[in-house]
């Protein structure tokens, strides 16, 4: 049995797949811990796992962490190049620096066999490199979201490289190689076909969506069962708080009194009254709910994208910022949905597109094809097998042990 340490960012979309894999690892008898820069509510954690929030080691950064988290609300109003800056320079790199101390302390004390860093949580791979622990990276979104900058935008590539090498020097890695991700195993939670990769680097494994994290959100199933019109699931994810009201107002304007049932995951408090054909809950058991739906509207948060195509449903994606545009492009390429940029979203297009998705079978057929590639990718079983094999091959000999 092995000890696995997940290193995660304060963004639930990135944490979520690690909770699902963690649950599978725990069920196989492994020890699993997580380390993050903000606390995680216990209800999300699979039984037997431990989430470590190194409060003391992070104390000096408390205000700065809150400021950076608040800054994420600016994302939707930022342009593409501004988002790149916001993400890498203002968020990922500073978070990595702040996490190093608490992470190194935990690694020294617990001595994990394998460290697994989320792709935007560089501290995990950096600490693993410093401590000589085998490392794996998890990537919840289709990779290569910034494109081939080395050739298409050399100055932007140079900016990225300088930021990362600066970070590495600051934590004590004086090498010209990049160590923010594993060079040995990178697990991506989508299929190679959907990600649009004809060839892939040998260390990259597309394992498809993973599931099984605890989700105890209640739901009024009886009300749903009484709905007679096509059911459309709508989610805006856990971020993007500022534009929530505007987004759902558009949705109401488009679908009030229309022959559809809208099942929305958002805090109902934003409006006093919702139309009768809207079922609205702050938290929903999304993976149980999705098989009952006929179509999905979302901005491109990757867990919702995975839940949608796992069930072979067509999607209207309304990309807002970050990697949403890349995901939207992949969906249009696969033919399993339609993309309308949020900032150019007209009420009439919103309505017409949803009915087109419901009535024209070609979208559902394309979504079924993606579903098949997801199933073939292997999911939890494949991820666990890769991690167990990796732990076995890379088992570190403990020279301090009297038996060594």
């Amino acid at each position: 049995m092995s000890k696995f340490l997940f290193v995660v960012p304060p963004f639930f979309g990135h944490i979520s797949p690690t909770l699902s894999i963690g649950a599978s690892l725990l069920a196989r008898g492994h020890e699993v811990k997580w380390l993050g820069i903000t606390p995680l509510a216990k209800v999300h954690l699979p039984e037997g796992g431990e989430f470590i929030y190194p409060e003391e080691d992070l104390a000096e950064y408390a205000d700065e962490i809150q400021r950076i988290l608040k800054r994420q609300d600016d994302g939707p109003t930022c342009s593409g190049p501004e988002v790149m800056k916001l993400a890498l320079e203002e968020t990922y790199v500073p978070f990595a620096k702040m996490m190093m101390k608490g992470l190194n302390n935990l690694v020294d004390a617990w001595k994990p066999d394998v460290m697994i860093n989320d792709c935007i949580t560089f501290a995990g791979a950096l600490s693993a490199h410093l401590k000589g622990i085998p490392s794996v990276t998890t990537t919840p979104v289709p990779p290569d979201v910034m494109g081939d900058t080395a050739n298409s935008a050399p100055k932007i590539f140079e900016w990225q490289q300088n930021l990362i090498k600066g970070l590495q020097r600051e934590v004590g890695i004086y090498s010209d190689d990049i160590h923010i991700h594993s060079h040995k195993l990178n697990m991506v939670f989508t299929s190679q076909a959907f990600a649009g990769f004809e060839e892939k680097p040998p260390h990259m494994h597309f394992v498809g969506p993973v599931k099984g994290r605890p989700n105890l959100a209640p739901f009024d199933w009886e009300r749903l069962s009484k709905a007679t019109t096509p059911k459309v699931f709508v989610s805006l994810g856990t971020l993007l708080v500022d534009i929530r009201k505007e987004f759902f107002q558009k949705l109401i304007n488009a679908f009030e009194n229309q022959p559809v049932t809208i099942v929305a995951a958002t805090n109902p408090d934003i409006f006093e009254k919702w139309p009768d054909n809207f079922i609205v809950n702050g938290f929903v058991p999304q993976s149980e709910l999705m098989p009952q739906m006929d179509a999905v509207i979302c901005h491109g948060g990757f867990n919702t994208v995975n839940d949608t195509f796992t069930n072979g449903l067509p999607m209207l994606i309304t990309p807002i910022a970050y990697d949403h545009f890349h995901t939207a492009k992949l969906i249009e390429q696969a033919g399993c949905g339609v993309s309308i940029r949020y900032k150019r979203l007209r009420i009439s297009d919103l309505r017409n597109t949803v009915f087109e998705l419901l009535e024209n079978p070609k979208y559902r057929q394309a979504a079924q094809k993606i579903k098949e590639t997801f199933i073939e990718a292997g999911g939890n079983d494949k991820a666990v097998q890769l991690l167990e094999d990796f732990a076995e091959v890379h088992r570190v000999v403990d020279f301090d042990s009297p038996l060594a």
Partner: protein
């Protein structure tokens, strides 16, 4: 497509750019904007990468090889891209024409 060989004045380039922008992002969204040479490309006009690509294609179709708009964009660093405004594009096209 035939390329235009007559030199355009900066006013003419400006109105041509406005026409391209309208075609790319749609008339009703342009109506809400006050497009001036100071308009920032990404911030004020809120052009995303897909829209910038179709805008580039329109420039290429109109001016042909005399203007390498995509090459010009790809030589920029992040701050230059963030601060890119219509006036800079107009000056660049004027330079290429001379």
């Amino acid at each position: 497509m035939d390329t235009i060989t007559t030199k355009l004045s900066s006013e003419e380039i400006f109105s041509l750019m406005k026409q391209f922008i309208t075609e790319v992002i749609g008339e009703e969204f342009v109506e809400e904007m006050d497009i001036t040479p100071e308009s920032s490309f990404t911030k004020d006009l809120e052009m995303d990468s897909i829209e910038i690509v179709s805008f580039s294609e329109k420039i290429k179709a109109h001016f042909g090889d005399q203007i390498d708009f995509t090459g010009w964009l790809s030589s920029m660093d992040l701050d230059q891209l963030i601060n890119l405004n219509l006036g800079m594009i107009i000056s660049y096209i004027e330079e290429c024409q001379s």
